[in-house]
Amino acid sequence: MKILIIEDEELLRINIIAYLKAEGNVCDFAPTFESASQKIALYDYDCILLDLTLPDGDGLALLKEIKKLKKTDGIIIITARNSIDQRIEGLSLGADDYLIKPFHLSELGARIMAIVRRRTFNGNDLLMFNELTIDIQAKEVKVKGEPISLTRKEFDLLVYFVANKSKVISKSAAVTHIWGDNADMADSFDFIYTHIKNLRKKLLDAGSKDYFHSIYGVGYKFTDS
């Protein structure tokens, strides 16, 4: 995938690029409104990450520009401004998603994948991983063609892990993904453990290989190697 990262904060940009590149994506970046505007006009991307507060302009204006060029690039707004109005404005201007800083890179990875998949597969949303087939829309998981029953949270977790395959996902990120803002509820880390344990068991029972690897209690890695 080709991804453009429009973000003026260098350290954050470097991390995002490093994380996404490791997944085999091609990353381009623009730290200013001006350079972003040029790159958008010249190239096509699968996904554009757009920071709203740029040193020389407003990200929303850039969004309008992209839409004016009738680009089909997926757009995710990444911003520290968690205002409902801005979120609605951004989405109504044609952004696909809105991610508020700070976020986990795995969350960003999952969102990018969701958008790109939605755009390229046009609704026929099947996510494949070895013997696993995940139907995002029907919320159905098949192991070697046989459907298994997962709870809503188990399903979300599985999609989240598959989207960040071969990456270590921290418990903190997984908790935030599942419970959102209320992630600070005591014990929520234990629940992630329970959910993953159950999910793993269901997959194993259905004949799947064991893809979940625990990393010293800090997180999990979903990988087949």
Binding site: E9, L11, R81, I84, P102, K167, S172
Partner: protein, 416 residues
């Protein structure tokens, strides 16, 4: 006490006191003057008696004459000088006792020594004094009453701008748009007061605005560094050489950053509610929201094996979905968080209110400060902003939030 009453009390007191003194001295001066008149009349009578005996050789001149009684008493030696005094005497002409004034003097009449007492009735004079007194005092009294009434009216009228000023001050709200409402008055003092209040309100308002802006900007600015820390942690996690100790450090760092994020978000949320920036109102069925929250928190409820008793009726409210979510998250989340193992949570929702009750090992909380920012009970590991946010959201929608402790349950009630 009201200014007016205080003022009136003083005025009334001095008026009555002054009136009494003036009345008293006036009456005395008047009587003294009239007594003098009677006295000179009595002297004239005495001269007349002397005159009668000496010139006309009539003796005794007369004993009873008009309101006059003359008494002659033979004495051996002339001792008494002239003296006057008040007395009560029998008026033979009217046949009644009257108050009067007499003159006593020892005189030699036709070679004989007499003590002569001339008594004159005072009745006419007393009447005179009375009418003069009344003619003077009554109008003064009337004037006093009129002054009091005028005062009352004037005070009310004069202080009207002040009252309006006070009303405006009371209705002045820092959080509301619009400045302090000015009062039109021609009275200089009130004008000055008005200007001073306008000035101070503007200053306070701009200071307040600045503080809010500062909080907002500071929180926003902090988000980017936190985002960097977070992404750095995520990258560190990807490293293959991570050992157990480093993992523990990472867990702690994740927890700290997530707490920092939460704190920042809470502060920002408070500022936004303060500024009334969240105005996306929609019709919400609170019952459905509560049920959704119970679903959302189900793992936490199951883990603590909390018994849930729900009595939910439909209740539609027009409010921000975002804020309603936060409100319920905080109230229900708190109840679950503070409930002990095998505890009990009761949720009651009807058209008037929503009550969330939970059992807990914690002592009753202090209802006076639990809604304050950064206040938290010793048993809480939160930041102490949750209930402040609840209060703020309730205030924004004109709901009433109360806390009570009853039957070993902590009860939070939201009255719509």
């Amino acid at each position: 006490m009201k200014l007016f009453s205080t003022y009136n009390r003083v005025l009334l007191f001095t008026s009555i006191f002054g009136l009494l003194i003036i009345g008293y001295s006036f009456y005395h001066t008047l009587s003294h003057y009239l007594n003098k008149q009677i006295d000179s009349y009595l002297v004239e009578e005495l001269l007349e008696v002397k005159d009668y005996t000496q010139k006309r050789k009539i003796f005794p001149a007369h004993e009873v004459f008009e309101d006059l009684v003359i008494d002659y008493k033979k004495i051996t030696k002339i001792e008494r000088k002239r003296n006057y005094a008040d007395t009560v005497f029998f008026n033979p002409k009217k046949g009644i006792k009257e108050s009067g004034r007499y003159l006593k003097e020892d005189v030699n009449l036709a070679g004989q020594n007499y003590s002569i007492t001339i008594i004159a009735s005072e009745i006419a004079h007393i009447d005179q004094v009375k009418s003069i007194f009344l003619v003077i005092i009554l109008p003064v009294l009337g004037l006093l009453i009129i002054i009091l009434l005028v005062n009352r009216y004037m005070m009310k009228r004069l202080w009207l701008p002040f009252r309006q000023l006070l009303l405006n001050l009371k209705s002045f709200n820092l959080n509301q748009e619009g400045n302090f409402e000015q009062v039109n008055t021609s009275i200089l003092e009130f004008k000055e007061l008005n200007d001073a209040i306008v000035d101070i309100s503007q200053r306070v308002k701009s200071d307040y605005k600045e503080i809010k802006l500062f909080t907002e900007n500071a929180s926003h600015e902090m988000m980017t560094p936190i985002a960097i820390i977070n992404s750095k942690l995520d990258m560190m996690l990807q490293s293959n050489e991570i050992n157990e100790e480093q993992s523990q450090n990472l867990i702690d760092l994740y927890k700290a950053t997530s707490k920092l994020t939460k704190l920042n978000q809470s502060l920002l949320l408070l500022v936004k509610i303060d500024n009334n920036l969240l105005r996306d109102k929609e019709y919400l069925n609170i019952k459905e929201l509560v049920q959704g929250k119970m679903q959302y928190f189900q793992e936490f409820i199951q883990k603590k094996n909390i018994k849930i008793e729900q009595q939910l009726e439909d209740n539609y409210l027009s409010m921000s979905k975002y804020l309603a979510d936060i409100l319920l998250d905080n109230l229900i989340g708190n109840a679950i968080r503070h409930s002990q193992q095998n505890g009990l949570i009761k949720i009651e929702l009807n058209e008037i209110k929503l009550c969330i009750k939970n059992s807990s090992e914690a002592e009753p909380l202090n209802p006076n400060n639990i809604f304050e920012r950064f206040y938290k009970s010793p048993s809480s590991d939160g930041m102490g902003l949750g209930l402040a946010i609840v209060k703020q959201i309730a205030g924004l929608h004109q709901f009433d939030i109360t806390y009570a402790y009853q039957d070993k349950l902590h009860i939070f009630c939201l009255t719509f």
